[in-house]
């Protein structure tokens, strides 16, 4: 009898399938499964207790989780919009530079070259209420004589984190928008001037529609980035004080490792991922709409 053999195309695919299964499919499946269990790292046997949607149900009523969720969404919206405006401004300025454009582009990208952890430390120092540069400067300038509690007050701490986030990543927007500006045909701009546009109208009706797809690409990338914001916040405030700056991933990691409630943390993580997917979808829609508007061939 002829021994049965795997057909060659399946045989050739097998290594890739095995590797993918080992590093993606199985962990994903396990984490999803664990979100339906009360799995605690300290009690491995709880992994086999199926409790259905109880974790998710509990999360629905969990004020702490939803405040972290809301803060993440707020961070996403505010930081992304500010970054886009600033990046657009930077790109327009750099595009104007008649000489030294390369140098400027490189300098502009410096913040991206630092590890987020280092950015966190740097801003933690700058916003420190006693020895920080910001208070020092404000006091030297005579603008205040108080030590402003930048990293302690709820709103100020959130603003401080946002500043750090924006400082480190505005360049992403600037680079994409600059690429758009450089790829943009010049003639429609001149046509707009002849057609009677003021510089602002030229920007509004001609330049911006052309740049929009580029801005949306940056938005998509950055939304994934900010939705998983962790390192800068971990260093600057660690979600504190008293959870005042807690975002999704600081909460998730605290739940998973400090509290050892891995099942619950995984449930949170799946909700967080849904959030990311939602944002990505929105921006992708906008992107393809903007692209077809300018009839982009890419």
């Amino acid at each position: 009898m002829k021994p049965w053999r795997l057909p060659p195309h399946l045989l050739l695919l097998l290594p890739a399938v095995l590797i993918l299964a080992a590093i993606v499919v199985i962990p994903l499946g396990l984490s999803l499964w664990s979100s339906f269990t009360p799995f605690r790292l300290t009690r491995p046997d709880t992994m086999y207790d199926f409790i259905g949607l109880r974790n998710y149900a509990r999360l629905l009523g969990d004020a702490q989780f939803w405040s972290a969720f809301g803060r993440t969404v707020l961070l996403l919206t505010v930081a992304l919009n500010l970054e886009m405006v600033l990046g657009l401004g930077l790109a327009l300025l750099i595009e104007r530079a008649s000489r030294g454009q390369r140098i400027l582009r490189t300098i502009m990208m410096f913040p991206m070259m630092f590890s987020p952890v280092l950015v966190g430390f740097q801003f933690k120092f700058m916003f420190n209420d006693n020895v920080g540069l910001v208070n020092n400067a404000l006091q030297s300038l005579g603008l205040t004589d108080r030590a402003i509690p930048w990293l302690i007050d709820q709103n100020l701490a959130f603003i401080s984190i946002m500043v750090a986030e924006i400082w480190s990543s505005t360049a992403v927007f600037a680079i994409f928008i600059l690429a758009g500006l450089m790829a943009m045909p010049r003639d429609p701009l001149e046509a707009a001037r002849v057609d009677g546009c003021t510089p602002w109208q030229t920007f509004r009706y001609v330049t911006w529609p052309f740049l929009m797809p580029f801005a949306f690409i940056a938005m998509t990338i950055r939304s994934l980035d900010v939705a998983r914001a962790y390192d800068i916040i971990k260093i600057m405030t660690d979600g504190g004080p008293a959870r005042r700056t807690e975002v999704l991933w600081t909460l998730i990691s605290r739940t998973a490792y400090s509290d050892a409630r891995m099942g619950m943390a995984n449930a949170m993580a799946y909700i967080a991922i849904l959030l990311s997917i939602a944002f990505t979808l929105i921006f992708f829609r906008q992107l393809s709409k903007a692209r077809s508007q300018i009839a982009a061939e890419w």
């Binding site: 045909p185 429609p188 046509a191 002849v194 057609d195 009677g196 109208q201 009706y205 300018i294 009839a295």
Partner: protein, 364 residues
């Protein structure tokens, strides 16, 4: 509508002097073509009129108004660009109505103006498409429509047909001419194609190195070129040119060959003067195949080096006076390479240019 004046118009880019003191008056309703080789300053001149390029010195007047320091939008001009420069994210309708929308005109007025222009250019079915969905010729029409809608004082065209294929170019040429006849607008039209300039313009301005070589009607620049440059630039195939010296009432060429000095230049030259003789391909032809009944004709047997049959005519290439000459044979008969035929040279139609300055030696 308005007339347009350029007075001592000057443009410098650093040390490069692009336009050197241009003087030009365009009458109300006149169609003027600026032609010249690339880098002659014709596009720069047009862009200065449009206000897209600052002027270094001099004045531009539209009507009675000096517009030197006005932004393009304040000059009431329309421009058709070589690349069409349509707004890619707007439909044809929006493209054409954009200028009126910016001017804050009421919807109804915009709608009527766009509809009128679309009808004139036969692009009504395209109004809701985007530029990317149009062919080159259609985009060209939309670009012209956008210019018409504004009802400007002056139309500016910057090589509008050079991105089209030959057939479409011919078609659009006729279209532009018809449009001008209908609108009676003042037009400045930049092109490097002398045929476009000849067919379209009331007046042709030939530019070179930032200066006007000659300005005149198509007939003038063709039949009475002021300089050797104009003679060589206007006309297709180009005018034959041969260097020579005046000697004993003859023009003696480099290879020793001579032609009698045509009567019309007898008083204009001195013995020993270096000259360039110019002769259009129509004015040298095998006996019996000419365009004109020559008045003062020289006959020479010349060897045909090459033939280019075009159907209704054949171009013949012959060597004479040390250079290659092109001859146009009408009602062509079969001629072979290497055959020697009697060619007639119409001396009454010879052009003579000064060897140094290149200026025409014609006195009257």
């Amino acid at each position: 509508m308005a007339d347009l004046s350029l007075r001592q118009l000057d443009k410098k880019y650093g040390s490069f002097h692009a336009v050197k003191g241009l003087d030009l008056h365009v009458e109300d309703g006149e169609f003027v073509a600026l032609v010249g080789p690339s880098g002659c300053g014709k596009s720069t001149t047009l862009r200065m009129i449009a206000g897209l390029e600052e002027i270094s010195s001099g004045d531009i007047l539209i009507g009675d108004r000096v517009v030197n320091d006005l932004a393009p939008r304040q000059r009431n001009i329309s421009m058709v660009f070589q690349s069409y420069a349509l707004y890619p994210h707007m439909t044809v309708r929006e493209n054409m109505g954009f200028t009126l929308k910016i001017a804050g005109r009421p919807e109804a007025e915009i709608e009527t103006a766009v509809a009128d222009a679309a009808r004139a250019l036969e692009i009504e079915p395209l109004l809701d498409r985007r530029p990317a969905q149009l062919s080159g010729g259609q985009r060209q029409r939309v670009a012209m429509g956008r210019a018409i809608v504004r009802n400007p004082d002056v139309f500016l065209f910057d090589e509008p047909l050079s991105n089209l294929d030959a057939k479409l170019r011919g078609q659009m040429r006729t279209e532009i001419k018809r449009l001008h006849a209908r609108l009676g607008s003042t037009v400045v039209y930049v092109t490097h194609d002398q045929i476009e300039a000849m067919t379209l313009a009331d007046r042709i301005v030939i530019m070179r190195d930032g200066l006007i070589e000659q300005a005149g009607s198509p007939d003038e620049v063709f039949n009475r070129p002021a300089t050797r440059f104009v003679a060589g630039f206007i006309g297709s195939p180009p005018m034959n040119m041969a260097e020579g010296v005046i000697q004993d009432g003859l023009i003696r060429f480099g290879d020793g060959e001579t032609l009698p000095l045509p009567a019309q230049f007898r008083d204009a030259v001195t013995a020993g003067q270096r000259v360039t003789l110019g002769l259009r391909p129509d004015d040298i032809y095998p006996v019996g195949h000419g365009l004109h009944a020559g008045e003062a004709v020289e006959t020479r047997p010349l060897e045909v080096a090459l033939t280019e049959p075009l159907g209704n005519e054949t171009l013949l290439f012959v060597r004479f006076g040390g250079v290659e000459w092109t001859s146009r044979m009408l009602n062509p008969r079969d001629l072979r390479r290497g055959e020697t035929v009697d060619f007639q040279i119409d001396l009454s139609r010879v052009h003579l240019f000064d060897g140094e300055s290149g200026r025409s030696l014609r006195t009257a």
